[in-house]
Symmetry: D2
Subunit: 352 residues, 4 copies
């Protein structure tokens, strides 16, 4: 049994880790960290866990936990892990970090977009960006630190990845219009997240300034082997879970001026995702819907070619708390310990 510790177990992502790991055959949670609810029963904070989890919430103690845990999940605010990490901790345990601290290789970019100083940049080089379908080879039993991708970014990157990788689109024209359920905003008691403010409403936010932008750009840059600069616009949708991205890019025309065919574009998706369990390339004409992946680790993707404008419209949907956070974190854990990648993640989407 893998001994797991969770720092930040009472946020929505942390709670989803608990839900998933409770059904995982090879892992057991020994530490429910929660600075806000120290000494309170976990099941009083999340009543769904009544009679399932009997543990008490414990204060944060990364060093102490490193002594006991085989792997620590940090579902914590930006800067938390970077402020505490050291070689001794990493020598004792593995860490899957659900924050952004180790996702971006260029410290200056991180500090600019997040507005905080990075306290342990020396560990950035060894951190692996844990987008399993792309970086699977680097996530091994030797890996110590995994930067678990963000929810918007997982969806945005996977949806465009095959076309960027295969050079089918002009990356300078890439626009990502993203829509997210409200759990992505966390469990903090803030006015904009009140039911009456979100319900019956939709808005864009963080326009041209959202922190997930550079993460998408960096990873798609690796794929396309070029500098990528995009527009990324998130929107808040009145639903609990789910992210949908609609991405626009101009297809590169053939020498004769014609557009790539449906089959060519489809071929690119099949090349990279055809054998992936958790990425489903939908059948022609079917648009991804967030409800079809809810509660599961799937990403559904598809595309439409618009002959009139020469653009391809790419679409992707995932559950922000599963493939966009906790599910992917467990997928990374499985890789870190040599387990089957889908262990504990055979979650069938729940409809309706």
């Amino acid at each position: 049994m893998i001994k797991v510790g969770i720092i930040g177990s009472t946020g929505y992502a942390g709670a989803e880790l608990v839900r998933i790991l409770t059904g995982h055959g090879d892992a057991e949670i020994l530490w429910y960290g929660s600075r806000s609810y120290i000494d309170k029963k976990y099941s009083e904070v999340y009543q769904n866990m009544f009679q399932i989890v009997e543990n008490i919430c414990r204060d944060d103690d990364l060093s102490g936990l490193a002594e006991q845990a085989d792997v620590i999940f940090t579902a914590t605010p930006q800067g938390y892990l970077a402020g505490l990490l050291n070689e001794e901790i990493l020598s004792k345990t593995k860490i899957v970090d659900l924050s952004a601290d180790f996702r971006i290789k260029d410290v200056a970019v991180y500090e600019k977009w997040y507005g905080i100083e990075h306290k342990s940049p020396q560990f950035i080089p060894e951190a692996v960006y844990g987008l399993c379908e792309i970086n699977r080879g680097q996530i091994t039993e030797k890996t110590r630190l995994v930067a678990n991708p963000g929810c918007y970014t997982t969806c945005s990157i996977l949806t465009a990845y095959p076309l960027v990788k295969e050079g089918l689109i002009d990356v300078d024209t890439l626009i990502v219009d993203a829509k997210s359920g409200t759990s992505g905003a966390g469990r903090g008691a803030k006015l904009p997240n009140l039911f009456c403010e979100v319900n019956e409403n939709i808005k864009a936010y963080g326009v041209a300034s959202h922190r997930h932008t550079p993460e998408i750009e960096e990873q798609l840059g690796y794929a396309g082997n070029c500098k990528v600069t995009i527009n990324f616009t998130p929107h808040l949708v009145p639903m609990n879970r789910g992210i949908l991205v609609t991405e626009y890019a101009s297809l590169k025309r053939r020498p004769d001026g014609s557009l790539p065919s449906y089959e060519e574009v489809r071929g690119a998706y099949d090349k990279y995702f055809g054998k992936e369990k958790f990425v489903r390339v939908l059948e022609k004409g079917v648009c991804p819907e967030t409800k079809w992946v809810e509660g599961s680790n799937y990403v559904d993707v598809n595309f439409v070619i618009d002959e009139r404008t020469g653009r391809v419209i790419m679409m992707g949907a995932l559950d922000n708390l599963v493939k966009g956070a906790a599910g992917q974190a467990v997928q990374n854990m499985n890789l870190l310990f040599g387990l089957p990648e889908s262990e504990g993640l055979e979650l069938v989407p729940c409809f309706p």
Copy 2:
């Protein structure tokens, strides 16, 4: 492997059977019945099942299916099963019926409330009312026909059962005010179930005339060993899943005029549910919420004694598609085949 056939697999309850059985280690579905979608891929009707279920929907053929299946789930309209059932079918397979056809022992009551003639009353006596926590002993490998309880009824009965059974309340005063998510209304394309009609709205319906009333009355009558006549008022709530019942009854006073204590009432709940996996008696002061059981087979119950009025307010919450339909049906299947009762039902509630 238990070979399973589902008649009515493309309704919401049928789809939930598919979701649950897909994760059941000892059962496999060999027949996805759907009169509306014959020859269509099941995953085109329920896109969440893409790459999970590869089967085609098939026309209804109860007799043909009986040849192949160890158990048939009928998630069909009232009257369907009663119209087709015969001894030959029952000699070849077991049936768990999710309709109301065999729930009520008195045919006249059935015909009055449902407004249709019962076509095979001869099988009513052998049908077992499949409320596992109460009738577990009668659901065995010898049982051929299980009448799976309704969603409102499961919740209403379990919430009041201990107090009726122990004679703590005056059953003539029992009132059940129930609130249901919209999936209970089925997947039929009807105007009252359109998003814009349900959203931002709540209403009562079927007041003093809802068909689940006599089912609750019959079962509580067995518990109390008396005739029970109640008010049952369902309400439609703008959410997908979940039933909450709020039940009111006068507590029987002691000879000295005093009310039973919290501990006495609590003791009754613990007596019947203390060891039940799927019924959770919450801690004092915690009100059940439908979200805490969503996607799971749990029923959460609790109560408050009002010293001012001498009444007890009982509350219960479940997921109408799981414990209120498909989950309970699988629980019955497990009992029918001598499997652990919770097999395939270790579903952790999903929050948020």
Copy 3:
């Protein structure tokens, strides 16, 4: 023009006052009080008012405001007005109080249910309970202080009033099961009111202890000329606006043991509400729905007699922010200044 001041104009009830008064031909708001947003533009707090309201939010100053305003609406926490009110203020201005401070005649009852000391009980006797349809005669140009009824109470009282008044029901059996949208919980940033906690969920709260209970009991006691003790159970529903009450009571039987007829019960409703603009007694068989009154000052009521149990099920629906708060407050203002009662309140319900 009536000069209006609002203390607490940035809560949901205060904002609804602004919306309604903006369309009122004989009133103008001269003071947008808001302790939380002092010196901020009102339309920055409520962006819907952009280019409609140009005013700045001002700190609370009841005495200063009394100098300028013909009427002050206090949409403030319990205890605020009672803590500041004095004869000088009341000699200069009228007050419509949307809090509970002056609703309950018995100070001891107020202090017990609200858990705070009442600081100015000397004004309780002169305060008129502003349920216009019942107390219209007492709300005149001489009235100085109106206690505007609560949202649950307005709905609960009006729904049962004719039957209590006419002695058709046994008041000791009265049970009120109420369901409310989330705006009733206010705009405070609290975890239980977050979108993800409320959405896809329903729960009871304040069981046997909600503060609106004694207010309902007192007013129905006046109607029935007897002591009334009820069960009142509120529930939180995932919608912004609306209250639905479902009320249960045993009908008093005639000497021959028969129940009152539909016509008799209907007659009682028509007697009290037949000429009321804002109370609509629906046609036989139609259940009130909150959506049908949204945004308007209407209360829709109806009932069903259950011959089996001898009970009548009464139902009522209103918009908690209009007839349940700001609309009724304006209705009271109209009476206080001798205006037509419906002025500014000709709001057609908005559907869908």
Copy 4:
């Protein structure tokens, strides 16, 4: 009093016409047309109108209605009006058509996108496209036929209009990502519009093929005096009302390669909308939200310049049933009869 007839008064747009006209001082509805509910009381179809509208629904009779009505609103399926219109009708009455029949000047484009033959193309030239803020001058007492714009199109066009008109953006790069509430799908009982299918879900639909595309292109083409070809992607959002558009376009750079300043872009919006009552250009940094315009005739617009990509992100929000349908139709009626343009449209947005 203007005598008004409505054909299609029981769809959502028709019902919104009824709501708005009920509060209009200079118009009275004499004909509630509804093929589906002939001879039924209107208030039984829309219970919110109980005791407000006493009329009966009547069968469609365009010619008969033309004899009586000063203006007819046709809130009917595509092809209905084109199939019946003739000179005699137009000689007797004015028509405001809420369908697409007369919106597009090029019949071939209409027939291609709508897939039906246009039966009366001879009236297309005289039809005025009723986007009041742009075509006000052409909507006069002499105008007989107004093509009321679509909901998506009103929002999409107004949001980009100033920048296209002023030549600030490269129209070939224009992409419109639109999000709509579900009332836009109408009141037809269709499976995809059921509560459980829409709730907790978001999806794109009609990708690269939605019928509002050519309407947007034609109107922006007039503004820019050039051919416009865009990508338009609608999405279905789990809310009743509201459309939000997020539009992307590359700003035209100055000769020195620099981008236009915030002030320049803002200036373009102020030039066209600064004096418009119903178009609100929000303050810098404020993103439009559909909730802020709900129930009103406002369109809220704003923009962000992204220096990194050289694009401007334009945003617009309106209520699809008001400014996107019935409100704009009444605005057109006001112009047709020489009334103040905002008469009956002083609707304050309702929040929450």
